[in-house]
Amino acid sequence: MFSSAAIQEIEDIRTKYPNARAALLPAIYVAQREFGWLSPEAYEAVADLLNVPKATVRGVATFYAMYKQKPMGRHLIQLCTNVSCMILGAERLVDFLKSAYGVEPGGVSPDGRFSLVIMECIGACGTAPAMLVNDDFHENLTEKNLQEILEKYK
């Protein structure tokens, strides 16, 4: 069940479009935030609110890589390993994250602090390697400054 604040948020979003269905992608983001991830309950809440069949909601949501189909850590690391980042050492950073925090691509660290998702180019190729942590961009990464950056995310 959505909180009334979330319902209001989605209703406000809905006014930007001529029909309720177009609000589906933004509504799924709200559900992801409210429920932590897109559980069956989250899907049903969106389906009921926008009057879209729940199988359809799940089908649409699972199409997109940034909607989370399982519980996440407290902080989401989205690290790019596409070509520009790869040739500038992004893969070493993936290994580093595994050894330093115990988090693997697609997984959550044992202490629940970080989850790691590998990205397909986040538009920071000129300052590669780069990552997003939650909504923050971090560029020109090295093993050293990576550790410093992640310190801030408790």
Partner: protein, 860 residues
């Protein structure tokens, strides 16, 4: 005229279409996989790529529209290469399951690879692995075989409109599954099974039990369940129905089926089928021979007729039996027994409502083609969810919505909720005032044309202002006015009326108001019809006051005329209807009752009362295919052949006569044959060589079916008004019953659930339908559950004046908080056990909307 050249052949087309359709019209084959004529074009499989002059890339024939002068090639070396390549792609992850897969022999992929595909594979990588899914009771998924044609999803989202399955994820990770990932929990129409080209989605009912080439016979017949009368094809091996499939292009359902039609056939071969007659001896039913049973029935009926008179004997025919069965039965009652005490359970709603409407608009005014609903611009629904009672009719309403039509409902119908309905939700018992307000406003907007005097007389003074209606029913003024505006603006209006209206207090008055709305909006009426041959039973004269073809018995000229046909004297005295029979049995004036094909105890309210009444009868004969609750009370039980084992005809709610065809050979006699044997034993000759012979007589005797033959029916000359003109018999004065009921605060009321997966009690004998919906439950809203501290899985006792039942509860999120909804399909746990009633004075239908019900938790 559009001229295209395909493979150097010039083809002229009159209308716009795709290259694929143009090619097909000329007999040119282009391979396809994702294309299906009932579905929106997709262009995904790429098998239909063809060369089009002046276009740089190959084009998919299924998506490209033809233009004048287009030149197309479909058979070049490059195209052959492309087809090989596409099929190679489809095979790289496809398991080599052919020897084991149920689809082998009718698999599109097999056929395509055999014709166009590569001889060898070059794929050396790891194949995708997906485990088989047996979590669903009727549908099995082997998704490794899936070729992502998405026909199943497009069928479910499109023509079916249920949106129960979806493609999850994307790219090579795409997989199709229902929301839960396991059980479908859907409408179980199985239309996804119909369109799957490979063995990915299949029915469990015939799993691993035969190969398509072993099916030596298949028979086109009519579904035995509801009044839509879908064409179904029964595929048979060794006298067992292996599978029932639809037929693309068939009348009425055009290749679509519902859960009952598709998965409900297993009752035919069920081990509990009656095989030998039973005679009660020393209080218990014991096996007997046909000779013993027939002789006994003939003897007893003869004795009772002599001793107590013809009028002490009654007969109940069946809306599940064929026209031939019903005709012979009423002839037996009239010509042999000499009584007009004949009726069917159509009396519980369909009969009275239809004659009421036809009184106003003429015979055949409810005989409207079901597919026409999809072409309406406005459809109004009241009194029942069409998607559960007559599912294929419900699909037409969904199609109407998809095409931009307006769906208006009075009430909340789950099956239409995703189709943008404009809903009015009046408080309990205030429907009438809402209808009055609508009639008032609509009449003021549109005026009276003068073409139906009696109706106009009745409605010209109805005057309820919207504001007053709002005050009484709780529907906001704006909503009510908007609803009326939509009705007023309708160009092609259809009105769908369900049983709840007919079985409610003041039902006939509501029917008048609905007739008025239909009249003012210039529409046509559809009445939801629960059983396959309700219409036919009435056509055959299974009514106490009507002879076959709706001639009244009370008119001497008709009694004489039919008497001449039947070489007997026909009584002119109208007989007892269904409810009067029960009363007479209670009183003791009814001494004998012959029940054919009907589970009277379960299908007539109030079950406890009916049971008691039947026990009071001296001689009860029950003819059926199972030992039902009613049969268990009989003195003689006669086993009949089922719907799949005989020839005959059904007449559906469109008044379309269709052929029921024998699929399975079984020892025994058709219902009409058993009746004929009894007649013979009573000294009255009924010699019919076959069902067709019976139909010949019907065509001679009934003015309605005059001169029709089985060939006519097969040819399609079976649409009302058949070969003649309908009777127009509009009475001067329209009677109504204006009884009303009032809510007692804080009380709960009984509501009858009409589920999608069951129809009467017959469907509970079909194992797979039972697997989908296994037992009766008491459905309550989450508010009611909270108030009574009930949680899912609790057992409760529900109690009314008529009786009590012990049931599991089911909590419905958006349920009606004033009701406890219970189905009437499970024999010992039917809602009619709880339903006492009053009769509508005009339609004679039972009003069961005012049954107070209490509910309390059973502490284990």
């Amino acid at each position: 005229m559009i001229t295209v050249t395909i493979n150097d052949r010039e083809i002229k087309l009159e209308k716009a279409m795709t290259v694929l359709e143009a090619a097909r019209s000329a007999g040119i084959k282009i391979p396809t996989l994702c294309y299906h004529e009932q579905l929106e074009r997709y262009g995904g499989c790429r098998l239909c790529l063809v060369e089009v002059e002046k276009m740089p890339r190959l084009q998919t024939a299924c998506t490209l529209m033809i233009t004048d002068g287009m030149v197309v090639r479909t058979e070049t070396e490059q195209i052959a290469d492309v087809r090989r390549g596409i099929l190679e792609f489809l095979l790289i992850n496809h398991p080599l399951d052919c020897p084991y897969c149920d689809k082998a022999g009718e698999c599109d992929l097999q056929d395509l690879v055999e014709k166009y595909g590569p001889g060898k594979g070059r794929f050396k990588e790891k194949k995708r692995k997906v485990p088989e899914s047996l979590q669903d009771p009727v549908i099995v998924r082997n998704m490794e075989r899936c070729v992502m044609c998405t026909r199943c999803v497009r069928m479910c989202e499109g023509p079916q409109g249920a949106s129960a399955i979806a493609v999850i994820s994307r790219g090579g990770h795409s997989h199709i599954e229902p929301f839960s990932g396991g059980r479908f929990d859907c409408e179980y129409c199985g239309n996804c099974v119909s369109v799957c080209p490979v063995g990915a989605i299949m029915s469990r009912l015939h799993r691993h039990s035969y190969r398509p080439w072993q099916v030596k016979e298949q028979h086109e017949t009519v579904c035995p369940y509801c009044g839509v009368g879908c064409t179904v094809v029964a595929q048979v091996r060794d006298d067992v129905i292996k599978r029932v499939i639809p037929k693309l292009g068939s009348a009425v359902n055009n290749g679509m089926l519902c859960s009952r039609g598709r998965f409900g056939y297993e009752f035919v071969g069920d081990k509990d089928r009656l095989t030998v007659p039973l005679i009660r001896q020393n209080g218990a039913l014991a096996e007997a021979t046909w000779e013993e049973a027939i002789t006994l029935v003939a003897k007893k009926l003869g004795e009772i007729k002599s001793a107590a008179g013809s009028e002490s004997i009654a007969g109940i025919a069946s809306p599940r039996c064929t026209n031939e069965d019903n005709y012979v039965f009423q002839k037996f009652m009239r010509a042999v027994i000499g009584s007009n005490n004949i009726d069917t359970t159509a009396r519980t709603g369909y009969a009275g409502a239809q004659s009421f409407i036809e009184n106003i608009f003429g015979q055949g005014s409810t005989a409207n083609i079901i597919s026409g609903l999809a072409n309406s611009d406005t459809v109004m629904v009241i009194g029942g969810d069409p998607t559960t009672v007559n599912p294929i009719l419900g699909l037409q309403i969904r199609a109407c919505a998809r095409r931009g039509g307006n769906i208006l409902t009075i009430g909340d119908f789950a099956g239409l909720s995703k189709f943008g309905p404009t809903k009015l939700l009046p408080g309990k018992y205030t429907e009438t005032v809402v209808l009055e307000a609508i009639v008032t406003a609509l009449r003021e907007k549109k005026g009276l044309s003068g073409s139906n005097g009696p109706l106009e007389t009745r409605i010209k003074d109805i005057s309820v202002a919207v504001a007053d209606a709002t005050a009484k029913c709780g529907v906001p003024e704006k909503q009510l006015s908007a609803f009326v505006d939509l009705l007023a603006g309708a160009a092609t209006f259809s009105l769908v009326i369900g049983k709840e209206v007919v079985q409610s207090t003041g039902g006939s008055y509501k029917l008048l108001l609905l007739a008025a709305i239909n009249y003012l909006a210039n529409g046509r009426i559809y009445m939801l019809t629960e059983k396959a041959n309700e219409q036919g039973a009435l056509d055959m004269g299974c009514a106490p006051d009507l002879l076959p073809g709706y001639r009244p018995v009370a008119f001497p000229e008709f009694a004489k005329k039919y008497g001449a046909h039947w070489h007997a004297e026909i009584s002119e005295k109208p007989g007892l209807n269904l409810f009067a029979m029960i009363e007479a049995a209670e009183k003791g004036s009814l001494k004998a009752l012959y029940v054919m094909g009907e589970n009277a105890v379960c299908n007539i309210p109030n079950s406890g009362r009916v049971e008691k009444a039947l026990k009071n009868i001296d001689f009860l004969v029950v003819q059926d295919i199972f030992l039902t609750e009613t049969a268990k009370l009989a003195d003689v039980v006669l086993p009949a052949l089922s719907w799949a084992e005989k020839e005959g005809t059904f007449t559906n709610m469109e008044r379309r006569i269709q052929r029921v065809r024998k699929s399975v050979q079984r020892e025994g006699m058709e219902d009409w044959k058993i009746v004929a044997e009894i007649a013979k034993n009573m000294g009255y000759g009924m010699e019919y060589a076959s069902s067709e012979g019976v139909f010949h007589e019907i065509a001679r005797v009934s003015p309605l079916y005059r001169d029709l033959t089985y060939e006519d029916i097969a040819k399609g000359e079976n649409i009302y008004p058949y070969k003649g003109e309908p009777l127009r018999d509009v009475k001067e004065d329209i009677q109504v019953d204006t009884a009303s009921a009032a809510v007692s605060a804080g009380k709960l009321y009984l509501k009858i659930e009409r589920p999608l997966f069951h129809s009467g009690t017959l469907s509970t004998r079909a194992a797979s339908l039972r697997n989908i919906y296994p037992q009766a439950v008491a459905r309550i809203s989450s508010a009611t559950a909270k108030a009574l501290s009930l949680t899912e899985g609790d057992v409760v006792n529900v109690r009314t004046k008529a009786g009590s039942l012990s049931l599991f509860i089911a909590i419905e999120k958006n349920g009606d908080s004033s009701a406890v909804e219970i189905s009437n399909n499970f024999e010992s746990k039917g809602a009619f056990r709880l339903a006492d009633y009053t009769l509508d004075q005009v339609t004679k239908a039972p009003c069961i909307d005012a049954v107070e019900i209490s509910i309390e938790k059973v502490i284990a």
